[in-house]
């Protein structure tokens, strides 16, 4: 993370800007901000909902730390979540057998689906000359189109086809939750998310693969000169990032929606990019920042219910925080070290 003082100042400025916006639409700012807290941590079931949303964001963000380490802008992460969800849905719909086997298979299928979709963007980049931002964006669109096709076509709801999604899965294909305090706790999703962050942290800190991957990310040309097979490392980063995003998709369909819906990614892919930008591309800060961001997202739905405000305020606040912290960090770095300070580079 960056030096504390500029980050805190930037954070306060973002909050102030958010308050100004609330005043602009005639909303009571303190009540609105309190609703964000209350709506995400105010009761056992709200905490559980926040943790459930935290999990896919953790998975996607952990994967993005790997692709950023390789110097890649994995904008295709949304599509990788979606394809993971499609693969998991296919397992949930077609695989007979006991719940634990179906869930295990759905996790593997999600990982494989996301991995393959990410490799497609990777191959387009390494062998097709298509920058990963645009290859990834294109594959995001294709994945979104595929879900709409599936939901309206082959996997349509019994009765009438509708964009509200497929039929609800049978209960064996629901990721089990742990009952306590009068609500279900998403133990498995949270465990998957936290494990992925730890694994990524170890991978990048302590393994040969991780160190060489970071060398590729910093300077692909000199990495190639010292004999690192650059393309293979880039594809490896795509594969890991895609697999983790795909598992996020599995969590979305088996633990949250219990069906496939067009908006299945929940925007956690793009939100994950914001999380990793704010975390300065380091795995250490991903978990707390992701929890903070997801609390804003979950809490902001209360703004709609209680104050009649658009829940997009949560996204506005997240965006302001990242923008201001990036600018604040670069500003202070520039003042500290003169003109030569590059910030915001993956």
């Amino acid at each position: 993370m960056r030096a504390a003082a500029p980050t805190l100042i930037a954070f306060a400025a973002a909050l102030a800007a958010g308050i100004v916006l609330l005043l602009l639409v005639g909303a009571p700012p303190l009540e609105a901000l309190w609703l964000l807290v209350e709506g995400s941590f105010g009761s056992a079931s709200k905490i559980s909902a926040t943790l459930l949303a935290w999990s896919p964001l953790l998975l996607a963000s952990a994967g993005l730390v790997v692709t950023f380490a390789a110097g890649l802008w994995n904008i295709g992460v949304e599509g990788q979540i979606v394809i993971g969800a499609v693969a998991a849905t296919w397992v949930a719909r077609s695989l007979p057998g006991p719940g634990w086997a179906v869930i295990l298979a759905a996790i593997v299928a999600g990982a494989v689906g996301g991995l393959l979709w990410a490799l497609l963007a990777g191959v387009l980049k390494t062998y097709g000359g298509v920058h990963e931002i645009f290859g990834g964006l294109g594959l995001d669109f294709v994945a979104a189109g595929l879900v709409i096709y599936l939901v309206l076509g082959p996997w349509q709801r019994t009765g009438v086809a509708s964009t509200s999604g497929t039929d609800i899965f049978r209960e064996e294909a629901w990721m089990p939750s742990f009952e306590a305090l009068g609500t279900g706790w998403p133990i498995i999703p949270v465990a998957l998310g936290l494990i992925s962050v730890v694994v990524v942290w170890i991978l990048l800190r302590g393994t040969r693969f991780g160190l060489r991957l970071k060398a590729v990310g910093r300077n692909p040309r000199s990495a190639a000169l010292i004999g690192i097979p650059t393309n293979r490392y880039l594809l490896g980063a795509f594969a890991i990032g895609g697999a983790l995003a795909g598992i996020a998709g599995t969590v979305q369909v088996t633990a949250f929606h219990h069906k496939l819906v067009p908006s299945v990614s929940g925007g956690y892919g793009f939100l994950g990019i914001l999380v990793v930008l704010l975390a300065s591309f380091s795995a250490v800060w991903v978990a707390p920042i992701a929890l903070f961001f997801v609390a804003i997202s979950v809490g902001s739905t209360q703004l709609d219910l209680r104050l009649g405000l658009d829940s997009a305020f949560g996204g506005v606040l997240q965006g302001l925080i990242v923008l201001f912290v990036m600018i604040g960090g670069a500003w202070s770095a520039r003042r500290a070290s003169g003109e030569h300070a590059a910030r915001g580079e993956p």
Binding site: L124, V130, I133, G138, Y149, F313, I327
Partner: protein, 313 residues
């Protein structure tokens, strides 16, 4: 036929203005990735301001300011703070889109002023071409002007040559006494203002009113079209019209083939990817070596210094 062509040209007009703006920005070496968000926020602001003042022109002016301001943030943070343009652009994409939803909530369902139709007297009476080209409004004529002026400026003027130099070889341009970063800043602001004007065109001309999904994905598509067009104004314009044709076709086919109508709007992305892979392929390079004219016509090279920070040594 002439009615269909007329609708395609009208439907593509905002896209043409937006892609010309982004082409100018990228030619100067800056990537404004924020189009999806800029477009949505400027469409909302344009509508809101036009609604207050009861006049479409005020909306266009306000929208241009919004687009220019977002572009200015990207250019300034890149030039002064050395922040990554992609990172800032991406954050602004999400921020501006959410800001539009949040601030525009109360305008959903309202009806605002519209851009008046303005058939050009005389010219619009010409058989066929009159209907296709001259029976439109100021936004569409503006899109024609944008294409012509961008092309002329790039390839026929001294400042246009400098603009390309700044995007291709900033060191060389600097050595010739050109203020690289000043030019980049203002061309980015200009490009952003054009994106803003396109946004207002969607809420005040193409559709009358504002809702969240009004410009959905069109900003991303514009970025794809600029690449598809190889940063050449005429080819970019061709891409924009091709997409306009897809839109009009999707609209007309809605009742007959509802499935196809859903798929057509995402077609530009697979097309762009195929075009890029094709141009990159060894097969195309061989053809290009044998027939340089084919390479000049279809080949596409990004401005060499695009997305980089220029520092005086």
């Amino acid at each position: 036929m002439e009615n269909t062509l007329n609708s395609i040209i009208a439907a593509a007009a905002p896209l043409v203005i937006m892609t010309m703006g982004e082409t100018i920005t990228e030619k100067s070496g800056v990537v404004n990735l924020s189009l999806e968000g800029s477009l949505r926020l400027s469409a909302m602001t344009g509508f809101a301001v036009a609604f207050w003042f009861g006049h479409a022109f005020a909306g266009f002016a306000a929208a241009a300011v919004v687009g220019a301001a977002i572009a200015a943030i990207i250019a300034a943070t890149s030039i002064r703070l050395k922040l990554n343009q992609i990172a800032v652009g991406f954050v602004l994409t999400l921020l501006a889109a959410d800001l539009a939803s949040f601030l525009g909530d109360s305008f959903v369902g309202e009806r605002g002023p519209r851009v008046p139709a303005l058939p050009i007297p005389g010219l619009s009476e010409i058989p066929f071409f009159g209907k296709v080209l001259f029976d439109h409004d100021l936004v569409v004529y503006g899109s024609f002007v944008a294409i012509a002026v961008t092309w002329w400026y790039f390839y026929r003027t001294r400042p246009g040559l400098n603009l390309q130099g700044v995007g291709e070889r900033p060191e060389g341009a600097f050595a010739r006494g050109i203020k690289v970063n000043t030019l980049r800043f203002w061309y980015t602001v200009l490009g952003g203002a054009m994106v803003g004007i396109a946004g207002a065109a969607y809420s005040l001309d193409i559709k009358l009113g504002w809702r969240e999904t009004l410009t959905l994905n069109l900003g991303w598509i514009a970025l794809a079209i600029v690449i598809f067009g190889g940063w050449h104004p005429l080819r970019v314009a061709f891409g924009a019209y091709l997409f306009g044709a897809l839109q009009v076709m999707a609209f007309q086919l809605q009742d007959v083939f509802p499935g196809l109508a859903q798929v057509l709007p995402i077609a530009p992305f697979p097309l762009m990817i195929l075009a890029l892979v094709f141009v990159y392929s060894s097969w195309f390079r061989q053809i290009g070596d044998r027939y340089p004219r084919v390479r000049n016509l279809l080949g596409s090279e990004a401005p060499a210094a695009m997305g980089t920070v220029f520092e005086r040594e």
